[in-house]
Structures are given as C-alpha cells and as structure tokens.
C-alpha cells in the first residue's frame, strides 16, 4: 500500500489525523492554511482499514491509495 496526497486540495480539516494518526499529520505553517503531511508513505498492511477510512472521509478527496 502506497499513499500520496493531492496537496492542491487540502484544507486541513484533520479528519485523516483523527482516523489514522499513525500515517497522517496536519500541521499549521506560520502563514497560510494547515495542510496534511504523510508520515509513512508505505504503511503496514495492518493500517489499511484506518487509512481507507481516512481517504473515504476526507472532505476534499486529498488522499490517494495505490494497490
């Protein structure tokens, strides 16, 4: 499982961080919008369900899961 993000679309809602903090972190830069960072781009298979929920409930469809 490989994770990438479409950064143009993120508004920093933080749903992903609530669903799966092991993989997603939302940080707030000094100026501008908070955006998501992927902490682990190829997370363990055990996290698949949580990552899938994060992608599904991201209000902006930012998270892309490959394989």
């Amino acid at each position: 499982m490989k994770i990438s993000i479409d950064g143009d679309l993120c508004q920093g809602h933080s749903v992903c961080m609530a669903e799966c903090p092991e993989v997603f972190q939302v940080t707030e830069p000094q100026d501008g919008y908070p955006v998501v960072t992927v902490l682990v781009s190829e997370p363990a298979e055990a996290l698949r369900e949580k990552v899938t929920m994060a992608a599904k409930y991201c209000p902006n469809n930012v998270i892309i899961i490959e394989d």
Partner: protein, 445 residues
Amino acid sequence: MQKSALKQPPKVSGALQDGGHMAEFADNFCTFLSRAHAECGELAEFDFGGQNTVLMSGPAAQEVFFRTPDEQFSQAQAYQVMVPVFGPGVIFDAPPDRCKTQLKIQVDALRYQNMKAYAGVIAQEVEDWIADWGDEGEVELLHAFHELTMHTATHCLLGKEFRQNMTDEFFSLYKDLQAGVQAISFVDPYMQQPLFAARDAARERLEEIVSELVNKRRGSGKQYGDALETFMTGTYNDGSHLSDTEITGLIIATMFAGHHTSSGTAAETLLEIAKHPQYAAELKTEIDAIYGNGEEISLASMRAIPRLELFINEVLRLHPPLVILMRRVMEDTKYKGYIIEAGKTVAVSIFESHMNPDVFPQPENFNPHREEPEQAFAYIPFGGGRHKCAGNAFALLQLKAIFSALLRRYDFELTGPAEDYVDEISNMTIRPKDPCVIKYKRRRA
C-alpha cells in the same frame, strides 16, 4: 504560441442589448446553460449583465477552473457582490493575507475536533423538532427544514444560550440580508434601492447583537465549543484577534454558505424518499441495523451509513443547491488553443456538469445505485480545489443525523401525483416549489 494565434471563446447567441443574457439566465438557467454548452462546447461566452462570462464545461475544463490558483482566477474579485453583506474588511474585501487567515479560522470552526460537539447539538435539535409530530400528519418541507436548519446553524455557530433566547428579530434580519443578494446586485450592489438599504440596516443591527454576545463572553473564562469561540480565539500572524465587524462577517458568511443549501437539500432528500418507496425501504433496513442496538445518532451520524450517503449524493447530483461558481480572470489564460482574457469572468455550472449524459447515463433519473464517475471534477456539489465548500462534512453529518431520526420513526408519502412536485429554478438556486407538502405516519414496530 503568439496571442494572435489564439482564438476567442465562441459566443452564445441571443444576447439582448440590455443586460445581455441576464434575463434569460434569471428566468430559467437550466435551459440557458444547456443551450450555451450545446451551442459552443467546452467554452461558451455569454453576457451576464455587462460582465463577459466564459462558461467552462466538461470535466477537463472544470478541472482547470478548480486548480488554477487564486492569483490567476480570483474568487474574491468575482464575489464583490457579497461585500456589503459580509461587511467591510471581511473575506472578499480583505487584503489577500488577511482573507486567507479569516478563511483558515472559518475552516478551524469546522474541523474534526469541533464536529463532535456539533453532532450532539444536531441530534438534540432534531429530537426537539419532531417531538410534537405525533403518530401521523402532514408537513410542509420548505418551512419545516428552514426552521430546523436555522436552529442547528445558530446553535453550532453562536451557542446554546443564544439559540435558546433567539427572537424573531434574528430571523427577520437574516431575511433582509438574504433579500439583499439578487441578480441586480451583480450589476451594482451599492445603488439606491430599498432592498439594499434594508440589507445595510440588518448588517448593522446584527453586528450590535454579535458585539453584545462577544463582550459578555470576553473574560468569562468559559468554554463554549461553538464556532463563535473559534472565531474569537483565532489570531492573525501578528497575534491580533478578529474585530467584532470581522467576527460578525464570518458568522454571516458561514450562515450564507450553509443555511439555505442545507435546508433545501434536506427538503429534496425527504421528497425523493417519499417519491421512491423501494429506495426508502433500503434506507430503513440500513438504519434499523445501525440503530437496532441502541447506538446514539450523534455518534453514528459521524460514521459510515453507506446507503444513506449514496442516496444523499444522488440528491445533490440532481438538485445541487448552488447553480454556478465564478472566478474573475486576473491574467490571460490559455485553454486548448483559446484565450480567456483578463477582466472576463469564468464560470462552472454545477447543474450542467451533473446533467452530462457522458458522465451520468440517463442524468434526469434519480438513481441512488448509480456508480461514482471515474472523472474527477465531474461530480461537484461542493465545488472543488482550494475553495471547495469547507462545510461539506458538516452538511453530510447534519443530513445523516436528520434522516437517521426521521427514518427510524416514520414512513413518508406524497399527498398528490409525483408530477406535481417540481423544482423551483428561478433566482439562481434549485429548491422544491413552495408549498411542498408530504404525509408522514409512524412506522409499525
């Protein structure tokens, strides 16, 4: 490529001397937008009351619309009509960096952490709202959902105390603000006009009300868990807080974005439930399974309710509450051999996009089993890109809570033939035609 080698977007026929296509658009934007797309293709230029507007349609052109940065396609410049409604220095009237911070603070109020509190508020408001429905009766959907969503919106935005002590004055001020945004406002929102004078008086009085509330809260040391608290604590980069004018503006902006849209969508959803007993039965089976073991609505509506979500998605496809989205072109922009010149407006039609038969087969049919389209930026009830509606998760949470509560208790049916229930499509929004009455009857155990 040389600028001269680029073509101008094709023009839609039938512009009138006075107002261009404004009258035709205001009368029936559905037929107008279909005609524009059919005549001209992906880019169709029309005259919107003196503003040359290029409709960008199809997933590819729409993706360009949503991905182009604000410096090139400006949202603020396209929505100057909202400035007198939101107030001076707020959002579209603020310098770019302050605007960005204000929008960030608005998104903060809608973040996951606040959502849990809102879920509880909404569940309670829905319970109170249906408390006196009894075993059976009739309900007029537009007014019923207008009232409910006004209660949830003020409760989540301004807090419990405000909501409980809210007078009719607030409703009437809000109504005056809404009436201040008309097709004519796009021509000049500052002309001498009774509607605009009422709008300005309402804006001023609302700020007094909000200031009073803010002053009461400052220094109280209490936690409220509502949007007003987030707006009051948010800071600019220099550490300063939002002024009362700005806080009032954010409240109005949030109400404007979320209230009539949610209210109209709730009405359309219940109407589709009453129209389609076979799909309603599927929803009830799902709801019964989820809530059968005593699950609370506030928690469950934050989780997956797949069939209900697909049903709501299809309602939003067929009845998107907003019709077009606009941006002002700040720099000449090339698209497939065409040039869209600075100073023009670009627009995307949510309605037209959702009625594209290449993406949605038999688009006029309501079908909640429809497959999700493969193309991004084709299904766009909340817009897309950086300016995508920040309240979309809130809206879905609210709709899931409302229909969990209603479907557990009642069956719904139409009071007359289905053909009598049509959408009202004037005034740049889509909603059921008033009055829209349906019957409800308590479900047998």
